[in-house]
């Protein structure tokens, strides 16, 4: 259908539209008009992706000079594929309606592991191996060597691409990863480099967060993207953790040992080259005299993991004299390494700031701040000069050099914590140096500064105002949309006590309480008797789950549950978990249903959807707070309090509630779906917790569904399930939560929709 959104003609590839999609597009259009950033929350299963795509594509067509590119960032490869499929539908609709040839180029980009078609390289199992192998075939100096020695192995796909592929633009169309591979095979070009090269003139790019947020990758891939782009972060509820992870460095004893090996290899190589080809080192030296700008004119294949965010003025300056020659730099690395080793030998926990660290390192091994700042760049240049083919081996020393650069560049927002052992095993020495970033805004700042519009969207972003604060930007629009429902298909219940009136809670004090564990067991048992098909239960942590399941076994609860349904358990092992998931789904197909016990923040809670009969009820046992004793978390909380005025408790609750919402949101993946959401903890009834749930869940929580006992829960659930089991057709939704074009254009409906948007 064709929509008119405040004067913009939008082609929408479906015959029906949800009212919230319409108001979502309205909000989006306003954000684009204002050329600002936006935070938008809309429940999953209401067609976020298609609304985003159709509006932005329409905008792109209407104002080709204002918005040149759409960069759509998602989390996983399956999600990326889904987005591309939606896009394909949209483009086909365009072609059908307008009758004109499509002239948009849209493509997905992923790692070499997913795109390589070289028969040898693509058979490797790990991403790092693929990268390393590819690099050893395609790096510029290797190819230069091949001129003199044609017997060296090469990648014919890359050679072909390099010879012809650059001149011929990829024809317009929508390419997912498989399409790219096919295209590459047909033409004999490397799909990975083709995609990386083509994103510069593509209209729509779909890729993973890391290509934009991780400074090491972003520097390679996304550096040249145009400023007039719209960036969309989908499923962005964890964006702050992604930012923080991309800037943090953890160094263990093993890293240092590997690093030592690397440094020794480097030293030997330098020695060898000095004897055979001293001119090469001389030339590098001359380049370094002139400053980094010239030295870093890297060819696109020289992927030595480039420097983390460096302020520009450093790049203009010349490398300090003390690390200019290769031997001196090796000496520098050695000293730094020995210093780190000495630091890791402590017997008690140390926490210090970056300036303290720098002062200490100067006193102990006379390393100044400036050469440290250049460390990453210098190593990069050295590795290139030495023409080391397999860069995967040098990841340890690269990591250390990044650490040196970061610690000397940022005096704020980072903390260094040295822990001699893990909290769980205080007798086994396992020293780790955490260099942890506390400020999510550091990694994402270049994105907000560079691009004209950045949209952050997800099904669970509540409370909305916290994201602009922790990411430090000023949004022009912030909205939360609810689901308009023809029938209330979700039923959140907050269970606070058992039948014996003992309060249920995963609070630390009552964790081990026999009565609480029994009540949790009873709840599961009762629910397993009345809920048809699948039930997913989430615990706060693996340890807690183990404890509870063990005592359920002793109390005989498990045996009783198994009379009703089969039980599957998620473990930290990925292979085991996917096996359990598969079997769980098989059991659900068979009719009697099953129970999946899993963990909030685990794999299941983040990416697996339980549509329809796979998840008729979700039980959340306890509030999924993070482990608050971790020093990294404590440091971050302190930082948030001082810098952003976010109180510790606020942040912890926010974090716990967003994960709880993620967990329970797994069950509802659309308007025809239905499911129970059972929050089994007394604390959920409090206003400060409840208020942080997304609006679409909050709206369904009535006073009568707070602080229930197990009996009451069973009553309410039975009633709800019976109602929901009645046949539900599309006609029932029409006009209420599903609109045709005529209905949408009616005066009354438009008024209702504008109200919907105003509420938020």
């Amino acid at each position: 259908m064709k929509l008119n959104i405040e004067g913009l003609l939008v082609y929408f590839p479906y015959d029906y539209i949800y009212p919230e999609q319409y108001s979502y597009m309205l909000e989006l259009k306003r954000t684009l008009d204002a050329k600002g950033h936006g935070v938008l929350e809309m429940p999953s299963g209401t067609g976020k992706t298609v609304s985003l795509l159709s509006l932005i594509v329409a905008y792109q067509r209407a104002h080709p000079l204002e918005v040149t590119k759409l960069i759509y960032c998602s989390r996983t490869v399956p999600e990326i594929e889904k987005v591309v499929e939606e896009l394909r539908k949209l483009i086909e609709f365009y072609v059908k309606e307008t009758g004109k040839e499509n002239n948009l180029l849209a493509l997905a980009l992923s790692s070499r592991k997913n795109l390589c078609i070289h028969p040898e390289v693509s058979s490797l199992r790990f991403g790092k191996e693929v990268d390393g192998k590819c690099h050893s075939l395609t790096a510029s100096y290797i190819r230069a060597q091949r001129h003199s020695n044609p017997s060296l192995p090469s990648c014919c796909f890359y050679e072909e691409f390099d010879a012809v592929g650059r001149q011929v633009p990829v024809s317009a169309g929508v390419y997912n990863l498989d399409d790219l591979k096919d295209y590459g095979r047909r033409k004999g070009w490397c799909p990975y480099y083709l995609a990386r090269y083509s994103i510069l003139n593509a209209n729509i790019i779909v890729y993973s967060y890391h290509y934009l947020l991780d400074p090491k990758i972003a520097d390679l891939v996304s550096k040249e993207l145009a400023k007039k782009s719209v960036v969309v972060f989908d499923e962005a509820h964890n964006i702050d953790s992604v930012c923080i992870d991309s800037m943090s460095v953890n160094i263990t004893r093993r890293t240092l040992d590997r690093c030592q090996l690397n440094v020794d290899t480097l030293q030997n190589t330098i020695q060898r080259i000095k004897e055979t080809d001293a001119a090469k080192l001389k030339q590098e030296y001359r380049q370094l005299l002139e400053g980094l700008k010239e030295a870093s004119v890297a060819r696109e294949t020289d992927v030595f993991l480039s420097n983390p965010v460096l302020p520009d003025e450093i790049l203009q300056e010349a490398v300090p004299g003390s690390i200019r020659t290769a031997e001196h730099f090796i000496g520098f690395l050695k000293r730094f390494l020995e210093y780190l080793k000495a630091r890791l030998r402590t017997h008690h926990v140390v926490q210090e700031s970056a300036p303290q660290f720098l002062k200490d390192i100067f006193e102990k091994v006379c390393i100044d701040r400036k050469p440290m700042r250049f460390c990453a760049e210098r190593l990069h240049s050295l590795l290139r000069t030495l023409e080391i083919a397999d860069i995967a081996d040098f990841s340890a020393v690269t990591l250390i050099s990044h650490f040196a650069t970061l610690v000397s560049t940022y005096s704020k927002g980072f903390t260094i914590i040295i822990e001699p052992f893990e909290d769980k095993t205080p007798t086994i020495a396992n020293p780790v140096l955490h260099f942890s970033c506390m400020d999510a805004s550091i990694a994402i700042k270049p994105v907000f500064e560079r691009f004209q519009t950045v949209i952050i969207t997800s099904g669970t972003l509540s409370p909305l105002d916290i994201y602009p604060r922790i990411l430090d930007f000023r949004p022009v629009t912030m909205s939360s949309f609810t689901m308009t429902l023809a029938r209330t298909c979700l039923c959140p219940l907050i269970v606070g006590r058992g039948n014996d009136q003992v309060a249920m809670s995963s609070k630390y004090e009552t964790r081990e309480d026999f009565a609480v564990i029994r009540n949790y067991g009873n709840l599961l048992l009762e629910m397993s008797a009345i809920v048809p098909d699948g039930i997913v239960a989430f615990f706060t942590s693996y340890v807690y789950m183990e404890n509870i399941v063990a005592s359920w076994y002793e109390q005989g609860i498990l045996e009783n549950v198994q009379r009703n349904k089969l039980i599957f358990i998620e473990t930290p092992d990925a292979a085991e978990t996917s096996m359990a998931l598969e079997k769980y789904q098989e059991a659900c197909e068979n009719g009697r249903g099953a129970i999946l016990l899993s963990v909030a923040r685990g794999k299941v809670s983040e990416g697996i959807d339980f549509v329809h009969h796979y998840g008729r009820a979700v039980i959340m046992f306890g509030v999924p707070y993070v482990y608050t004793q971790s020093r990294i978390l404590k440091a971050r909380l302190e930082y948030l309090r001082d810098q952003f005025q976010i109180r510790e408790n606020d942040f912890l609750t926010f974090d716990a509630m967003r994960h709880a919402a993620q967990c329970v949101g797994r069950a509802i993946r659309g308007k025809t779906d239905y499911g129970l959401m059972i929050f089994a903890d007394k604390r959920y009834a409090r206003a400060d917790k409840r208020g942080k749930l997304p609006r679409w869940i909050q709206e369904q929580i009535t006073d009568s569904s707070l602080n229930l006992s197990i009996d009451e829960t069973v009553q309410l659930s039975k009633h709800f399930l019976r109602q929901m089991a009645q046949p539900f057709r599309r006609e029932d939704q029409l006009g209420l939560s599903l609109l045709t074009l005529e209905q949408l254009q009616s005066e009354e409906m438009l008024q209702r929709i504008t109200q919907l948007a105003h509420q938020s």
């Binding site: 005299l289 300056e317 010349a318 490398v319 300090p320 004299g321 003390s322 690390i323 200019r324 020659t325 031997e327 001196h328 000496g331 050695k334 000293r335 020995e338 210093y339 080793k341 000495a342 030998r345 700031s353 300036p355 303290q356 720098l358 002062k359 100067f362 102990k364 091994v365 006379c366 100044d368 701040r369 400036k370 005096s411 001082d642 005025q645 109180r647």
Partner: protein, 307 residues
């Protein structure tokens, strides 16, 4: 780490966890007891390289690689002499060259290359730059100064925060106590029914909470907009003096490859302006005169006449 041991008595850290390794200027390791035994007389030779050593120069080995211990030792000594700062040099390039030279010296000394010559160079440098070395002894490099400042700032802010928190807590406690006392007093003396008083109290309590909340959100500024912290004078470092050759003006010479063009003020006299449109008053207001256009046209016409 555990496989480290004394090369003489072969004790390792694994067998004796309290083993203390010592290292001297030559960079070779000995354990503490061996040092005690071999150097009873206060001096002796290294077991491995026969360098004469003093017992007092033995120190606890900090790093796994004793060569690093040695290097750091040497480096500290060298840096005491080579202590020029960045502002002692006219350009960054020269400073970097100097740094490299220092590094070269350290490298030579640690790896026993050209020992004699390097020592000579050092001594010569020391003689030549005595006053600079003396002067720079107390000065820190610019970067270190920055670091010190940051550290100071950090300390100050943590201290401030701690005090603030303490005070805040005290204030809150006091306010709450006062509120409670007021309620008791009112209940005792007032004529109003108790439920009204309780409601009033509750109202007041929530107001108090809100006030506290608001205070928490208000941020105190401690820095002027220029970046200078309040209540602290900035250290005024002398601006480095840059001496260069003075600029000499040289009149511009253009090779026109043609006859010389008459000067602008001669145009009128030579009659070139007779057939040029006189400038109107409006033109002249803007600084234009008819000579300008004429002069330019002449330049154009004359240039390149000689092949």
């Amino acid at each position: 780490m555990d496989d480290q041991g004394c090369p003489r008595c072969k004790t390792t850290k694994y067998r004796n966890p309290s083993l203390k390794l010592m290292v001297n200027v030559c960079g070779h390791t000995l354990c503490e007891s061996c040092v005690e035994m071999l150097f009873v007389r206060g001096s002796g030779n290294c077991v491995q390289c026969d360098t004469p050593l003093r017992k007092s120069n033995f120190r606890v080995q900090l790093f796994e690689d004793p060569a690093i211990d040695k290097e750091v030792e040497i480096r500290k000594k060298v840096l005491k002499i080579y202590n020029k700062r960045e502002f002692d040099f006219p350009s960054l390039r020269e400073y970097n060259d100097y740094l490299e030279q220092v590094e070269e010296i350290v490298f030579n000394l640690t790896n026993n290359i050209d020992l004699e010559r390097t020592r000579q160079i050092m001594e010569q440098y020391q003689r030549e730059n005595r006053d600079v070395i003396q002067r720079n002894k107390v000065k820190l490099t610019r970067e270190q100064e920055e670091l010190e400042e940051l550290l100071l700032l950090e300390q100050k802010s943590t201290e401030e925060r701690r005090l603030e928190l303490l005070e805040e807590e005290k204030r809150q406690l006091q306010a709450k106590r006062k509120n409670k006392q007021a309620l008791l007093d009112e209940l005792e003396s007032s004529q109003l029914p108790a439920c009204v008083l309780l409601a009033q109290h509750k109202d007041r309590a929530t107001q108090l909470e809100r006030q506290i909340e608001k205070q928490k959100q208000a941020v105190k500024t401690t820095i002027f907009s220029t970046g200078i912290p309040m209540g602290q004078t900035v250290s005024l470092q002398p601006v480095p003096e840059i001496r260069e050759v003075l600029y000499h003006y040289q009149p511009l010479f253009i090779a026109t490859h043609g006859p010389p063009v008459p000067e602008l003020d001669q145009l009128q006299r030579l009659g070139y302006l007779n057939h040029v449109r006189a400038a109107s008053q409006q033109d002249m207001a803007g600084g234009y005169c008819s000579g300008l256009a004429c002069h330019r046209a002449l330049q154009d016409a004359f240039s390149g006449l000689y092949p």
